[in-house]
């Protein structure tokens, strides 16, 4: 056993000792990252000193630790991509990566990872790129604490963090703004997105397409073109996120389209035109969320079924729930509704008569959108009051049997 260990350390030691550090600095023999990569071997460390370096698609094809000191700038001068990583076990930390080419035929990216595993991209600043960090066909990647700012050009902007056919990627602590979609997932599975801030992106703060079994939690999505969109995916968990100020006619806090078995828990929807919009979405649990001061807290289309809404707070929304037809198998339970006017004679904390979240006026607007001009008028209050007393038009199936008298404390 001991001889084996000795033999082993004898084999390993030279390798460890052989791992060198290569310095890159302006005006020295090694004055570019490309030179340093050529001189290096697997396992080496490259330290890049402060300065501005032109980097026209520098290829990183060895397992290297590449550290920027004083946030050195890698600039592609709008002619190429900046960095392409094609080796596994790479760490890239502390750079400023700027000015990729923009173009219609190819997706030029600041940092591209292609067919690799175990790569960490951390503490970088990305500015003025077409795509920011582009992962294709990768596994076990970490994208940590990067600041990614796009060009805010509607016709020529790509996504901040773009994943295509990836598995088990961790995206944590990043700030993404002024891109097309802040974070974009296509065929990305079992990933975790947490503690990111995505704001003022042109389309979506976060966008899922055909991506199953992902979790996103503790993120903030603020003032993006159209909020967050989750489409054609299964088993997504959306936990403890904040969706704030996503305003406009086709703009939603969250747009759910053809998704199944999702969990939406502990989120806050504040001042959005529509908090959650659901279409063709089944078996979704919506629990412990706060809907505060939205135009429509939730718009649930008739194509949705088997959804559960429990223990949410609905406060100060113009409309709590609207729909376009007959809702089937939609269950409301134990929610707090600030518009509830019932009573609690037995003092068990839940109202004694059910609450119907779809108001008659909401139904009228559905048929006749122009009637929105009557909002908050005397006549609207009157018909809503009459309808609550003697329900006749609002759907019988949509009601909360046990509405809470007091808001849930979080």
């Amino acid at each position: 056993m001991r001889t084996l260990l000795l033999m082993f350390s004898g084999l390993l030691l030279p390798l460890i000792l052989a791992a060198r550090t290569i310095l890159v600095a302006p005006g020295t023999p090694v004055s570019s990252l490309r030179q340093a990569v050529m001189l290096s071997q697997n396992g080496d460390t490259i330290r890049v000193k402060k300065g501005v370096y032109i980097s026209l698609n520098t290829l990183i094809d060895k397992s290297l630790t590449i550290l920027g000191e004083g946030q050195p700038v890698l600039d592609a001068r709008f002619r190429e991509e900046v960095l392409t990583i094609t080796a596994s076990h790479v760490k890239l930390d502390g750079f400023t990566v700027v000015n990729t080419k923009t173009g219609s035929m190819r997706d030029f990216a600041a940092i591209r990872l292609s067919n690799v595993e175990q790569v960490t991209i951390s503490n970088n600043i990305l500015r003025n790129n077409f795509f920011g960090i582009y992962l294709s066909n990768c596994r076990f990647i970490k994208v940590l604490n990067n600041r990614i700012t796009g060009s805010n050009d509607i016709e020529n902007s790509g996504n901040g963090i773009h994943l295509w056919k990836c598995k088990e990627v961790l995206i944590r602590g990043n700030y993404v703004t002024k891109h097309r979609d802040g974070i974009y997932f296509e065929f990305a599975k079992k990933c975790l997105i947490e503690n990111n801030l995505s704001e003022k992106n042109i389309r979506y703060g976060l966008h899922f397409m055909f991506s199953d079994d992902d979790t996103y939690r503790h993120n903030t999505f603020k003032n993006n073109g159209s909020g967050v969109s989750v489409m054609y995916t299964r088993r997504i968990a959306m936990l403890d996120n904040t969706f704030i100020e996503n305003w406009g006619s086709t703009i939603y806090g969250v747009l759910l389209k053809e998704i199944t078995d999702a969990r939406i828990e502990g989120n806050r929807f504040i001042r959005n035109t529509t908090g959650i919009y659901m279409e063709n979405s089944d078996r979704i649990t919506i629990k412990h969320n706060d809907f505060i001061s939205n135009g429509w807290a939730m718009r649930v289309l008739a194509s949705c079924s088997k959804n559960n809404f429990t223990q949410n707070n609905y406060k100060g929304n113009s409309f709590d729930v609207t729909t376009n037809g007959t809702l089937k198998e939609i269950y409301f339970n134990d929610n707090y509704w600030d518009k509830y006017e019932g009573y609690d004679l037995n003092r068990d904390g839940t109202g004694d008569i059910p609450y119907r979240p779809i108001s008659l006026y909401a139904q009228i607007i559905e048929q006749n959108p122009q009637s929105v001009m009557l909002m908050r008028s005397f006549i609207v209050n009157l018909i809503d009051k009459v309808e609550r007393a003697i329900p006749s038009v609002t759907p019988e199936s949509v009601k909360d049997e046990k509405p809470r008298m007091k808001p849930w404390k979080r």
């Binding site: 219609s104 997706d107 097309r180 397409m209 969109s229 406009g248 086709t250 919009y277």
Partner: protein
């Protein structure tokens, strides 16, 4: 009074014409998938005989819509418009266009599809070995 009413009438008639409406990129949403339309190269538009305008973010979304609305699809009077992938910006007739299905094409809804005005351009843009170029009837057959 008369010229004024004539002008009004002209204006009203002009409003009835079935000319395509420009897509507001970053603002308009796709009729089929609800996504905001961003990419000129893939955007399409359908105008029904009655003048109703439907906008789409991708060729595959237009195909999906036509599948669900055979009345619009089969009416030769309805106009179906696509952007040329190589030279986006102006609409052309979808029925006369050529369609490239190529795994390397990242179209918005994952259909790997793009439209081209002429066949040679579609063939030149092929990258994947499994790419197929088809005309409108062939395209409809594939996306039925």
């Amino acid at each position: 009074m008369k010229p004024l009413s004539l002008i009004t009438l002209c204006c009203l008639l002009a409003a009835c014409s079935h000319s395509p409406e420009p897509i507001l990129y970053g603002k308009d949403a796709c009729t089929h998938c609800k996504m905001t339309i961003m990419d000129k190269r893939f955007a399409t538009e359908v105008i029904s005989v009655k003048g109703k305008i439907y906008k789409f973010d991708a060729v595959e979304c237009m195909a999906g819509f036509l599948r669900e609305n055979p009345a619009v699809a089969n009416d030769p009077e309805s106009s179906l418009l696509v952007n040329d992938f190589g030279h986006p910006g102006t609409f052309s007739d979808a029925r006369k266009a050529w369609y490239l299905h190529d795994a390397s094409l990242a179209s918005p809804m994952g259909g790997n599809l793009a439209a081209f005005i002429n066949r040679r351009a579609a063939e030149a843009a092929q990258q994947d070995s499994t790419a197929i170029v088809s005309d409108w009837p062939g395209f409809l057959k594939q996306n039925r």
